[in-house]
Symmetry: C2
Subunit: 329 residues, 2 copies
């Protein structure tokens, strides 16, 4: 048995830079037609020059694969002229509340001060991608941030807002309240709960932001995704860290799922008996919500088991050492 | 300024065995007059022979310090004859639900099957120490186990039941419902919440079972302890693991607080302006609830800052690298 997917898209991807970029980019470029590239480098992507330099590095790292890096800018107060120069070269602007995840120290501290930029983005039809967490108790952060999502969605009704990597039943419910709001969901949040991270032994390779939540939350995500929700797109949030930054005091947040994402998604949808909804989640919803036309690319998978390596050049991936029932042909 | 404490007692302590025992025992023996020794070794302490061998090893490891190891047995179905032989040599029997923490694989699976042993313990006035967690969602486990505590407390009204290392407001409230129920609280659960463990970078040295809970839960523990609750005893749950078993995939649960426990407790009670309640928490409540008379031993602390070493022979302690304002003279 085989399955063919048109233009898989990863709508939330961290590629990092330098050696790490060269190591991880091919995993995504091999299987995906495109991906939304996060801008939170050590020196965040927030100018024309940085954007083009980074895009060139990414294309070089992707070797000969047919792959479109949909670039994003790191949110700051942008002037109209800057955005006019940039808008045809980006898919959106990514907003991080200050300090909430890896390399977000320069993020937004005062949400009242950003209205002018949001207004420009609305006028110019530039989507707003958001890491939606407050700075409250770790398990309440996403729910608490819904107040901010609501304010922005109501104030800017034609701004396309993407709730990135949602993890809670509350966020899924919120999504249906506003036509201008979309969401991405990761592979790992469809599979794990906080029990997998700290319920038995502690697993640093499953530690990410937002942290995995309760079984009830995971069930809400699964029902929405497997049920074919039209406003939810696949975004892996694949985020590589070298093992010495994971298996240590002060473990970095991030799950590296790029090497297994497409295969495991097929396995999940197959197990749930809803393979017919996979094309929407992994491609069509993103094309529709963002209005993008990715490169023509098809990948075919067969039901052939393979074992995920323990290590990819010093980075441990999601599902390391385990067997996946589907392989890309 | 100095403060002198009579007979500090640690009513919940893991000393392990072999080299680790020899490394960690002196930290407790130096400052405490005695400690309740947990029986969950690789081969659990559940016989006369194992108990005495372990006690001898502990006394040897404690060198010349005046220190009473209050021994416990690992819960199983014991016969009357066994308990008659053992009862004068133990302070209680420690019950672990199967698989709930480090080396608890041989714990209790069926709570209906343990009534006979509990009945014997009640008759012989042998206290029951309990790791009170269900096998549910990691943050719900303590609350869910209260049903079991209630059944045992009601069925055996003169059995002394100790809720070990409680972490939730619900458990604190439960404590007041039954005269025959006591509790221990750790140092670290007075200080940290889940935010410290996974709210920023992930901290394996703060990972323990039960996991630290919410700010509201911590506040309930602090109010009870600093307010002088008479049924709550200090139990560090100090549990050493070598760094290679903490800073790794599959990090072991346990916070090693023995090297800093007494000093940090003085600092906490001092900061809260309730030093007058420290003697109850760290000694008198245990003497009263268990009816024990520990060895005569006093320790004196002065307000002299010291920096906690980063490492104690391959084991990283709680508060490593930080400064504590009080030192044992």
């Amino acid at each position: 048995m085989t399955i063919t997917i048109d233009a898989p898209l990863d709508m939330h991807l961290h590629l990092r830079e330098g050696d790490m970029l060269r190591l991880v980019a091919p995993f995504s470029a091999r299987h995906c037609a495109g991906a939304v590239i996060m801008p939170n480098l050590v020196d965040p992507i927030d100018s024309f020059e940085k954007l083009f330099r980074y895009r060139s590095e990414i294309l070089a790292a992707c070797q000969d694969h047919c792959f479109e890096p949909y670039m994003t800018l790191f949110f700051r107060a942008y002037r109209r002229k800057e955005l006019e120069l940039l808008k045809d070269h980006i898919i959106g602007i990514k907003l991080y509340p200050a300090g909430i995840t890896t390399q977000s120290e320069n993020g937004v501290k005062d949400f009242d001060a950003i209205e002018e930029t949001l207004s420009l983005m609305q006028q110019m039809k530039i989507p707003l991608l958001v890491h939606g967490e407050s700075n409250g108790f770790v398990l309440d952060r996403e729910r608490e941030f819904l107040v901010t999502y609501r304010e922005i969605a109501e104030s800017f009704p034609s701004l396309h807002i993407i709730m990135e990597h949602i993890t809670t039943a509350d966020a899924v419910a919120f999504l249906d309240e506003f036509e201008n709001v979309s969401a991405t969901i990761t592979l790992h949040h469809l599979m794990i709960t906080l029990d997998n991270v700290i319920g038995d032994l502690m697993q640093p390779d499953l530690f990410c932001k937002p942290v995995a939540k309760t079984p009830r939350d995971r069930e809400a995500l699964r029902q929405a995704v497997f049920g074919g929700h039209k406003k939810i797109m696949f975004g892996s949030d694949s985020a590589p860290h070298p093992r010495h930054k994971k298996e240590c005091i002060g473990c970095a947040a991030g799950v590296f799922s790029a090497p297994v994402a497409v295969e495991l998604l097929v396995q999940l949808f197959d197990e749930e008996g809803c393979l017919e909804n996979l094309p929407d989640f992994i491609s069509a919803n993103a094309r529709q919500r963002y209005g993008i036309t990715p490169p023509q690319k098809q990948i075919t998978l067969s039901r052939t088991p393979w074992q995920v390596p323990d290590d990819h050049g010093g980075v441990r991936s999601f599902y390391a050492g385990k067997t996946i029932n589907w392989s890309v042909v």
